[in-house]
């Protein structure tokens, strides 16, 4: 499913280099709907791109990124 409605989770990064790696890791793991989008202005971030997810996938993606040593700032949930 490609989520087009909230609730979303946004993975925030320091650098776009990590954002692109994160997207590939999420997609390789079959995380449906994981997509890079411009970081919403309400979410202060160092990087202009954020990985948007179905909120339910947030925990799994966090684990995936930690295991793959992809650095990220934090994960924000937006209703």
């Amino acid at each position: 499913m490609n989520p087009t409605h909230p609730p979303f989770a946004y993975v925030l990064f320091f650098t776009s280099a990590a954002a692109f790696r994160a997207e590939r890791v999420a997609r390789d793991a079959g995380i449906a709907g994981a997509r890079l989008v411009p970081t919403p202005r309400s979410l202060s971030s160092d990087c202009g791109a954020a990985l948007r997810l179905d909120e339910a996938a947030a925990e799994a993606v966090a684990t995936l990124l930690l295991n793959a040593a992809v650095p990220f700032d934090r994960i924000e949930r937006v209703s």
Binding site: F14, T15, F20, P38, D46
Partner: protein, 400 residues
Amino acid sequence: MAPPANDKVVYLDAAATSWPKPPEVLAALTRHLADSGGNPGRAGHRLSLAAGRNLCAVREGLAALFGLKDPSRIAFSSGATESLNLALRGLLRRGDVVVADPLIHNASARVISALAHEGVHVVHAPPDASGAFDLDAFVAALRTAAEQCRGRVLGLLTLASNVSGTIAPLGAAAEAAREADAMLVVDAAQAVGHLPIDLAEAPNALLAFAGHKGLLGLQGSGGLALGAEIDPALLIPLRRGGTGSRSESEEQPDFLPDRFEAGTPNPPGIVALGAGVALLRAASLDAEEERGAEKSRLLIEGLCRIGGLRILGPGPEARRIGLVSFTVEGADPAAVALALDDEFGVLCRVGLHCAPRAHRALGSYPDGAIRFAPGRDVDEDALHYALDSLAQVLKRERSR
């Protein structure tokens, strides 16, 4: 041998740049420009994201090529020269010492020469009797520097010489640097793509590479790979500017790779070298090294048969990339090179190859030498043709 057809070309100048580019590289470049032409990391629209994905894949491919676990330790640049400037200028300050090997190219020689004017102490380790890198002399120079210097000590290693083609021992040089509590800056412009390079055996190294030579990409591309033990905070950026990250701040980000990647990158160049990396990894770097070594052996044997030539550096037993330089007796090297091009379509490079110090070490300064550096597509028959062509030209030139 009959003169060549007009379109006959035997390309022996691959050390200057690769040619022709493989179809895989051209296809990737065309695909990128057509489908992913946005500016990576600068927007969230599909073309920007597509370009960013392409760069991400190249960074990961390069990290795998160099045995690095963290792809962010690859910083793209305009090539080996910029990367060497970043590494040397970024690390060395007044009172520090750099110990350079004897085969350095002007890409690093001119940087450390300028640094010497700024109070950095430059030590040139001597070559061995054949003019090749001498590990014992390098170790001794590093040890002396460590004992006498209160500042930072840095080793500078040319991994493969652009004049002699000889390959230096990366792991042993890195270990020597470690014993001197030093980092090792590696000029890998001529080595990358021609032999396996594993930074796991040199985690204290900073490796500068070009994208358009052994990696088969475009001019104006390359990068700096930071070994796992290198603290990026020690390295002062060469450039500062926009990165697409931390935009609210006027300070350069301290995280990788943005710390060293200010300004718009060169996506076409990066994508092209990435296609080259994929091709080479699929072909195996061990096999690439063996092919290069075999070409050098064939050239050395053929040049020895011609006679009146002096091969620069050690004999055929030495570990070499596919590159051999030689001096000629009784003929002007420039005239020989011109005749090889005009009459036989054999393209080579003559002169000092931007490496006067290497030519001094090899005993060919100031006259320089003729360099044969066969491209990846140059096969055994083409090398025999080049050697026969050289023999004909020399015979005529020497009879004048």
